[in-house]
Symmetry: C2
């Protein structure tokens, strides 16, 4: 019998992905249905719903769910849920769709799902602003003053909310494609469905499983978080976002190669699972940390590592806001959890402070364990690191593993070459004029 | 309101220590009662009962409790308890005491407690052997084959059981002295009663408190255990045994000085409490690990760090037997705990593997996190360390902190000097003959 935490919502894994003949039949039907073009984020959300990663969701949210999630962190039925999962469409599309109708969700000519539309509703600009404030506004500097003004310029999550079309479609979906996640070699076989990670954890006899959320290359500070978790849990899944990031972030294939190299050289392999999940980043800071814990529960994880500025962007969130929010959500005490059963979030945060190498400590340390000064510590901002790597400059000792830095240097050199080739082409093009 | 784990047994802290006028009156009475000389171990147990460290115990155990503890890990009333807490007396003393009578417990002329004797019973040699097998026999090599034969030679815990006198006295006690623990400067103010540690934890707003059990000087492996706990809990009490150890072990005053030096140089002080508790070591391995968790719960601790060969001696226990036993005791599941309430042990083990410095990891690591070979690791047996320190030889880099090693070297130099002085005295004595 599995010792793992049950999926969120108390209904087991809610799988909406069709396979085999059932899928074939649905695909045939889908071809003749009204088509709705979806965004990259919606595609990721649909796949997550399909594979049970968003259990107990069966589809995209109604207005009642949307409102309740924004206001109360719960679906309309009281089940914990931290962020809206919306499917938008244009006014023109909405006018052609009636409640009860089936539609096909596609993107770039590929069919991802069919949807049994139960509700069609408008979300006005003001409502989307309200959602942005409720979901994305934090306690950080950028959230103070005129939040919406700053967010519209600098918050990719809010920008995505505001860019949604005027209407929303709600209803259960049947998922027909996982895109290229299962097959594209660039994902290095890390794309695992919740049922698959659960099977791996069960086979290893794990009960307490931690997850490290990663959207950046893995340096020693992440390695340290991970190893603390390995020391106090049965094992860890290094779970990379393999959906879309904001421009300038490092692509999945490079990040996954870094992780694999790090795991092979510096981890006890049987304590680690490398996984990837198909969502786009929302950059919702504290709310997204909750989402990370929620879907991790479906993957079989009961300890979500939450470090410094988890899922943050700019200065919208304070450094440990994503840790603190876990104490303020509905059903956060053992008594409440007991009372509401499956409606509560059961995956708990494993809160860890800012970590770094410290020369006086003679190893990795955190703000909670190291009493020394910043002169003793190796701390490097992402910006400075990118600069060093792309200029071929030295990265300070003890910051990252050499094998990982080598991969990153090669990636940045490649980028530089691409830019040079482009410039050469532009130059020769200019010559040819 | 305190967020700490409640004391064990569901009755709050059961304090049997008298103070002020009440103590004066009881002392006066005690002088006229029948006197029973107690052992060092019994003195430590009495003080722990006095200060509530052994809550819910009010005194020494009856035969029914003794039998149930040995067989079932519970008192006769079903409350979890892992080791017998016995007071023995000679056949001659027993003959002079009747049930219902009060006696005075003293040691080396000092009165420690009075006891309302409720039961007087014999424990035969065979019964003490049975107790030894039930409580002290482990899965290690020395426990195989003729356990009692090996144990009688090499197990200080079993030797203490077998050395107990023929009869036992059971009944509640009133404690009248804590010995020199509160006042002797050699304990450096670390002797804290459970009510005091709880107050400190409460003042710091702690909820999840870990304890590191120490009976040896603190090296980097202990520091690492401690820092893992600090990273995942609110704080740690470094809780040293300041009662008696076996010959050759390092005395409390030296160990406490090492800890204080280490904490001041290498810890964030507000995350650490230095404490001492007045028990003698029983060396009962797994059963003693359970005792450590049980009384730590009374001190306000809900996470007991259990490392490699916790409370072990010789090869009587396998390396992680003291971790595994926590899964086999009564009421070990959340459901059972819920059902029996205060009778269950609520302080949980924080199980951590063997830790060491690893050159390839470039820092501290554990068998769970480090994939490298023993050539990469700094591992030193206690025996080799003592040899290096006492001979003034170098201790390998990264094994201990220099400031701590300096204290230990000075201690061993002092020992050597004492030996030399003794030898000189002996020599000059010989000359004078």
């Amino acid at each position: 019998m599995s010792q793992l935490v049950p999926p969120h919502g108390g209904k087991g894994l809610v799988i909406r992905l069709l396979e085999g003949a059932e899928r074939e039949a649905e695909l045939k039907k889908a071809a003749s249905l009204k088509k709705v073009e979806i965004t990259a984020q919606e595609k990721g959300d649909a796949i997550m719903i399909g594979i049970g990663g968003f259990s107990p969701l069966e589809g995209f949210m109604t207005k009642a769910d949307w409102k309740s999630v924004c206001e109360n962190f719960t679906l309309a039925d009281g089940t914990f849920w931290p962020v809206p999962v919306m499917l938008s469409c244009s006014k023109e599309d909405a006018a052609e769709i009636k409640a009860g109708q089936e539609v096909t969700l596609e993107r770039n000519g590929e069919i991802y799902a069919t949807m049994q539309v139960t509700d069609i509703f408008e979300l006005t600009e003001d409502e989307k602003k309200w959602e942005s404030e409720m979901v994305y506004k934090g306690a950080g500097e950028d959230s103070q003053g005129d939040f919406m003004k700053i967010a519209l310029e600098d918050h990719p999550g809010v920008q995505m909310v505001m860019a949604r079309k005027e209407f929303c479609l709600a209803g259960p979906i049947k998922v027909l494609s996982e895109g290229d996640y299962p097959t594209n070699p660039k994902y290095m076989g890390t794309y695992l469905r919740p049922a698959e990670t659960r099977k791996i954890f069960d086979e290893r006899g794990w009960k307490n499983v931690a997850a490290l959320q990663l959207r950046n290359p893995m340096h020693r500070s992440h390695e340290h978080l991970c190893k603390i978790a390995i020391d106090v849990c049965d094992g860890v899944i290094i779970h990379s976002l393999i959906g879309n990031l904001k421009p300038g972030d490092i692509p999945a294939e490079v990040r996954l190669k870094c992780i694999d190299t790090l795991v092979k050289g510096y981890f006890v392999e049987e304590k680690v699972v490398q996984g990837g999940y198909p969502l786009d980043m929302r950059y919702a800071g504290p709310r997204e940390a909750l989402l990370h814990a929620t879907f991790r529960q479906n993957y079989g994880v009961n300890k979500m590592i939450i470090g410094r500025d988890h899922a943050g962007v700019g200065d919208f969130y304070t450094l440990f806001e994503a840790q603190e929010i876990f104490d303020r959500i509905p059903y956060s005490t053992p008594e409440e959890k007991q009372k509401v059963g499956g409606k509560a979030l059961l995956c708990e945060p494993l809160k860890i402070d800012w970590t770094f190498y410290c020369f006086k400590c003679d190893g990795m340390a955190s703000m909670r364990t190291c009493p020394h000064t910043k002169e003793d510590r190796v701390i490097l901002s992402g910006t400075k690191l990118r600069k060093a790597l792309s200029e071929g400059a030295e990265v300070p000792d003890h910051f990252g593993r050499e094998e990982v830095l080598t991969i990153l240097r090669a990636y940045y050199e490649g980028l530089t070459e691409k830019v040079e080739i482009k410039m050469q082409k532009a130059a020769s093009g200019a010559d040819m004029k």
